[in-house]
Amino acid sequence: MRCQKCEKPATFHITELAGGKPQELHLCEEHAKEYLRQPDAAEEASPSLAGMLAQQLAVGQTAAELARLDQQACPVCGITFFEFRNQGRLGCPHDYVGFKKELGPLILNIHGESEHRGKRPPGGGGGTDELTKLIRLRREMREAITEENYERASELRDEIRQMEKTTRRAP
């Protein structure tokens, strides 16, 4: 078999995966080397989360808007959007609701989709609001203890215990 680019015999048989379909290339050593060396348009490393966030936030947001956005804190876990941008990790399940406006486009950008199509918890899951309330109450209780407001802390502790009784499934 001859090289597809010259008259020399083809000694390299390269199979290219394109959209899942293999494409055969038959080249001589020289042209194979040249082919393998050429830069590929899709060569850019897969974009990192931080990179995508920066991109996301750079579009259509002024410095003042960004500064305001960064100060937004989740009422449940207390994480600010700035902290999330820095560490790339969210603070609690409620962040997906609280930062919905900012996270929505980001998630779409990462996955190219915005709706879950996989398995669901038995009984449809849900109840997230009720459960995330526990996260907030525990945080408030700790804050009350730090502020030495023990009366408030004990009220919160009772409320937490009551809620835990109803939410936890006994193993």
Binding site: T11, F12, H13, I14, T15, E16, L17, A18, G19, G20, P22, L36, D40, A42, E43, S46, L49, V76, C77, G78, I79, Q87, G88, R89, L90, G91, C92, P93, Y96, L103, L106, I107, I110, H111, G112, E113, S114, E115, H116, R117, G118, K119, R120, P121, P122, G124, G125, G126, G127, T128, L131, T132, L134, I135, R139, R142, E164, T167, R169, P171
Partner: protein
């Protein structure tokens, strides 16, 4: 556990000349606790307790509970080399643990990046069995705990890159011929185009060592778990095919130099007096290919797989029963290789 090899290095299962292991993991978080980045010590302790109780109730078989936080660094490294915990889990701080089944097929990491990471690993290409197993385990766990779930976004994870299914499917491949024929880069680029990630032996950020590559899905939202499993499962046979073709081409076009390369590698491993972990990986990779191509006859794949893992730093020190510095490790590694390759090609019983 020290002297055995674990599930993923058994060297059996479909396509095991090229596919080392098939692994699936699910990321899950308890709905009523903050994610790890905002969890304080008491949260972490409570998360650990609730998950351990749930796992104990959900799994009938006996399990090993390992308190990773209390382990010596060398033991943590040992578990990471064994792929039972991630490097991140080994190196982080605070209450965290791993629950392992004795066959080392299942491991459940508690308080990693997410509250729970369930992992199922099989030798060779066997994604569907791994999926059925992990899916059943996830279902059973959900009888005892409530995972954070959003109607539209699915299972909620600490990083938005895992949201939805929380599923990561990874297949570890040994691709020495694609590396030798310089075709590997093109395979990588093709995989990136269809949203699959290629990583080194120990996942994200790890170096490519000894021609081992891990291929996994990048997207977790908007497709069913089975679709994601299928996507990886469908592309792996094509890569296996390229690797086989590249091996055939090497045999056809340069059998002599190939045989020389394999024999030299085998020779060095059998005679070296001091050898680094990296050189060992590269040489074992050539020897492994040599065995698969019938160029070496007195050695079997499970033995080589076992040598790959037993010559890693923490394994070597655990086997020797003492801590060793780099220079001593290199000598001990060479000694271990000589002992296990010098005409003793038969695999040992685990």
């Amino acid at each position: 556990m020290v002297t055995s090899s674990g599930e993923w290095l058994r060297g059996s299962g479909p396509e095991s000349d090229i596919v080392i292991s098939s692994r699936i993991r699910l990321a899950r978080n308890l709905a009523h606790f903050p994610f790890i980045s905002r969890a304080d010590a008491s949260d972490r302790a409570e998360i650990e307790k609730q998950l351990r109780d749930a796992i104990g109730a959900a799994v009938e078989n006996p399990l090993d509970y390992v308190d990773v936080n209390k382990l010596a660094p060398i033991d943590r490294q040992f578990l990471a080399e064994r792929q039972l915990i991630s490097r991140e889990h080994a190196e982080s701080e605070g209450a965290r643990s791993v629950v392992i089944d004795p066959s080392e097929q299942i491991s459940l990491m508690i308080n990693e990046e997410d509250h729970l990471r369930i992992q199922v690993m099989h030798s060779g290409l066997d994604l569907l069995t791994a999926w059925e197993q992990i899916n059943a385990l996830d279902d059973r766990l959900q009888q005892y705990v409530t995972f954070a779930f959003h109607d539209k976004l699915g299972f909620l994870t600490a990083c938005p890159t895992n949201v939805g299914t929380g599923l990561r499917v990874s297949v570890m491949l040994h691709l020495p011929a694609l590396v030798l024929t310089e075709q590997i880069e093109r395979v990588f680029r093709s995989l990136q185009k269809i949203n699959l990630a290629v990583r080194g032996l120990y996942g994200e950020g790890s170096q490519f060592m000894g021609d081992f590559y891990q291929i996994s899905n990048q997207l977790t939202l908007g497709r069913s778990e089975l679709d994601l499993v299928k996507q990886v499962g469908d592309v792996v046979p094509q890569i296996i095919d390229y690797e086989r073709k590249a091996r055939e081409a090497l045999v056809r076009q340069s059998n002599e130099s190939l045989h020389d390369r394999v024999s030299r590698a085998y020779g060095i491993l059998r005679t070296a007096q001091t050898i680094s972990s990296e050189e060992t990986m590269h040489l074992l990779s050539s020897v492994r290919m040599g065995v698969n191509l019938g160029l070496i006859h007195d050695l079997e794949i499970p033995t080589i797989n076992k040598l790959f893992i037993h010559t890693q730093p923490a394994h070597l020190q655990k086997l020797r029963g003492t801590e060793l510095d780099t220079a001593d490790r290199n000598k001990e590694r060479a000694r271990y290789l000589r002992e296990h390759l010098d005409g003793q090609g038969r695999p040992e019983q685990n």
